[in-house]
Symmetry: C2
Subunit: 219 residues, 2 copies
């Protein structure tokens, strides 16, 4: 059992569920950030930049809570280090779908979800997740992007309409949920499966081990 919580700088219920499923004690500190991709920015770089921005936004909020006097320019509370331990590790992540060098984020409306799925039908796309693990105590970070190749079955327009009507497309990159009804859309994949859901668990835990985050690990 972990002796300290992991702060998740993301409002995604999928990432929370993935981490909790393997036994992490997750504390969510959602971080609203501006998700704008630079012209020509590779998806790996973009998702890592987004992941880091989410973590930094959460860290600012955590620091303001742990060291309230700092915010007023005063001195650090004597309880700081004990409190610090409880919010030492912060993780953030961002996931996009890439096809034909086009980067698909979350669809803004149903019609956009339909267009995304039509583009993915019968073809291979990449799901790229960038993640950032931050150690507040030592001000150190790990930053990595993981890509998974996903092949979709062929979908007719009628099938796409039916899938979109299920109602799980809207807050997912590429307009589908691998862990939901969308499971049947995936003919096969190559790489990390949990990466497609939103966080490459095996690689995330490897980074935690390398950075010495023993107190948050569930095993």
């Amino acid at each position: 059992m972990p002796t300290a919580p992991l702060t998740l700088a993301s409002a995604s219920p999928r990432r929370k569920e993935l981490l909790e499923r393997v036994g992490f004690h997750v504390k969510v500190v959602p971080a609203g950030i501006d998700e704008q991709r630079f012209e020509g920015e590779p998806p790996e770089d973009f998702t890592k930049r987004m992941a880091r921005a989410k973590v930094q936004a959460a860290v600012r909020r955590l620091r303001a809570t742990i060291y309230p006097s700092d915010a007023e320019g005063g001195r650090v509370n004597s309880l700081a280090s004990a409190r610090d331990d409880l919010a030492r590790w912060v993780i953030g992540a961002d996931t996009v779908v890439v096809v034909d060098d086009v980067v698909l984020g979350k669809p803004a409306e149903l019609q956009e979800a339909r267009e995304m799925l039509l583009r993915l039908s019968g073809r291979v796309h990449r799901v790229v997740t960038g993640f950032n693990l931050f150690d507040l105590r030592r001000n150190k970070e790990g930053l990595q992007a993981v890509a998974t190749q996903v092949r979709f079955k062929h979908l007719s327009r009628a099938e796409i309409d039916k899938y979109v009507s299920v109602g799980e497309s809207m807050d997912k990159a590429g307009g589908y949920a691998a862990q939901g009804v969308g499971a049947y859309l995936i003919e096969d994949l190559s790489g990390s499966y949990t990466n497609v859901v939103g966080l490459p668990l095996c690689q995330v835990i490897e980074m935690m081990e390398e950075m010495g985050a023993t107190e948050i690990l569930p095993f």
Copy 2:
């Protein structure tokens, strides 16, 4: 929405959950069969044979319920065709893990689960699921085996002990659950992910479409 149920000839809660997640209306008719592999029988052939044996056992139970007079050598009930529609499609499946040409089924005890995981540590293995879809009305069947390559992270004996202590190893081929805590054991995979859980959803649905099982399809 499906207008008729799919009979699942398996007591596995994972297969039921997978099918229900994408919208099938599942009716479980568990079929106790003898799971003995023949000397030198390839895993694809073995799992297909097991899948078919499960389906046939369920079909015998269904026929005895639908046509009770048949069991006594009498004539078919006039309601038979209506009832038949409600139990027309039966599916069964069997999953094994293959490594070094050794076929791993479900461990019989914790020590066997530990030995299986030690064998899988840091290496690639295959997960093979055979499935059988049977159309009771036309006495026709589809039979297929799907294989997925899975690469495990390296696990120390201490990590294996901790994982086994989670308690999800015992009723799973190879001693791990891809959809449980075991998710973090998988570094990457190649093929169908749901196949590793117990049923290759995309391929199963494709077979249903080919066999005209429109009344059970959720979309």
